[in-house]
Subunit: 329 residues, 2 copies
């Protein structure tokens, strides 16, 4: 086993290739129902891809702890399925037209069928998890999904108004970091980790997830439509204040604050342009600030791994935070 | 213990009064979240009432089998919560304005929040069930909710067109009878029933649920708005063919069939009046036919109980099918 640091996505992918292929097959098998519309919608969502970062975390945690069984394949498919179920309901709620560069499922099948397809995918995820006959696994998943749904509801309550930095962190914990955390914890359950190990690896997931979402939110403000696969600044267009915006609301001038609030309240750039908002964020160093916070969480995530014995899987986990903060989409 | 037959709802209610009060309190406790909108919507749905027939079945089954513990209170609240979660998502799907004589939750809070409130209630039901630490309970509930969601999706696929009598039975099994069945089965799990007993009492629930829904569908065609607490013939207005309508489609004249199909395809009485449809159903004896089928299932339900030793709970279960087919709303 080489002790050299892992430095490319390909190295990590090579490490997990067979398992990720097996998870993809499992996900496909689980997305099949006797009811045609469900199979169609679930298939469309599955084929839309995504980075499969959550199953990869689960695999890496389990393998770093010496787990060699097949439950990681099934539970890897389960976490991706939960993720997909939240996306389809979120797209209905956000009235999203585009997801991952394609029309969102709700524009193709309508909201009603997508509500049901999301319900079905949640239940299918629980059904598969239930087959593991492990109450800890079920406790983690039920807590997770409820936290995520509550988070989305909190997000809705806060649309169109300024949020505090604390509120922002709570929202992105529930939206993203909680599932990253549980993916690591499920790997720990399979690898029979000690409670301390599970807490630290769970914290790795939480820190990584926070870094991931902060970067996602910065990219939403700065990247082009083509790179993102969805319209730029869609958060602001939906009335969501993300970290850089919250920073400028706190540190900007009275005029700058008013301009930002106009966009958030209007949920559009009608009164104030996207360029003006970017200029405000630049002048206040808000985009840099958000990235610094993301780097901090990425570093904290790496530190959470110190308890873990060296292995190629640990080295992959050490690499992931770099990938997450350096990505461009 | 009296051996006289139970003949009034009050007698059954008296028998279960303390438990139903406890279930109501438990349901209220479980409908509380840190997130205000969830507590508000869940509270509104809970206060909307309903007959609490599903928890009553669970209680009667458990008690008829000699069960005396508290899990029947928690699981009673769980089945009512699952029922409520399906209603809130169904109302979004059916674009319903009215439910139980009040504005539906989606007209009050909007679809987005109601999607999330429904998700949350499903998950809360699973969370409480999970606390029982009984895999059989979880298997029953996951199968149930997935069957119900698939049924609603099948219903959507079939909107606006004639269905066969077989398709109709499948839809109402999934929509209603499956939850009646599982309520009885959960009572059996608590009462440690034999497999044969669970099958027979489950069949009682299925037959009762079929009778219940057939009568519901007849009332939708014939009762007045005030009695139903929702607009008359809402099924036809949503493009749903129910048993009496299916019967007339099979036995009516070519003109009658065309008139019925016009209403179902239009999802309105624009081209053909509600009175004309009722006249068609009367002429073909279709409403009587549907009621005869309902009576048949009610009778079959009573026969499913023959295995059960006599008790006041058994006598209450014998009475329920009469109540279900004789009700006017």
């Amino acid at each position: 086993m080489s002790t050299a640091a892992i430095t490319t996505a390909k190295e990590v992918f090579d490490l997990l290739r067979d398992d990720l292929v097996a998870i993809e097959r499992e996900f496909e098998r689980l997305s099949t129902s006797d009811v045609d519309s469900i199979t169609e919608i679930a298939g469309y969502l599955r084929e839309g891809g995504g980075k499969r970062i959550r199953p990869a975390l689960l695999l890496l945690a389990a393998k770093a702890l010496g787990y060699t069984g097949n439950s990681s394949i099934r539970l890897g498919a389960v976490v991706e399925m939960v993720h997909t179920a939240t996306l389809v309901h979120d797209d209905i709620i956000d009235l999203a037209d585009i997801r991952r560069g394609r029309p969102s499922a709700n524009t193709q099948w309508g909201n009603s069928k997508c509500v049901l397809a999301g319900d079905w995918m949640y239940m299918q995820a629980f059904r598969v998890a239930l087959e593991e006959r492990n109450f800890r696994v079920l406790d983690l998943l039920i807590n997770l999904t409820q936290q995520m749904v509550e988070g989305e509801m909190l997000q809705m309550e806060r649309l169109g108004r300024a949020v505090t930095e604390q509120e922002y962190y709570e929202l992105i914990y529930r939206k993203t970091a909680c599932l990253f955390r549980v993916s690591m914890q499920l790997g720990c359950v399979l690898g029979r980790a000690s409670q301390q190990m599970e807490e630290l690896l769970g914290d790795y997931g939480r820190n990584l997830g926070l870094a991931f979402q902060i970067v996602d939110d910065v990219l939403d403000l700065t990247a082009s439509d083509e790179i993102l696969g969805k319209p730029t600044a869609s958060d602001l267009r939906e009335g969501k204040a993300t970290l850089a915006v919250v920073h400028s609301l706190q540190h900007g001038t009275v005029e700058e604050r008013a301009d930002i609030l106009a966009v958030i309240e209007d949920q559009s750039f009608t009164r104030v342009s996207h360029e003006r908002i970017l200029a405000i964020l630049q002048r206040n160093g808000s985009l840099d600030y958000a990235m610094q916070v993301a780097y901090g969480h990425a570093e904290a995530a790496r530190k959470n791994l110190s308890i873990l014995p060296d292995s190629e899987f640990k080295r992959a986990l050490l690499w992931v935070p770099d990938f997450v903060v350096a990505r461009e989409k």
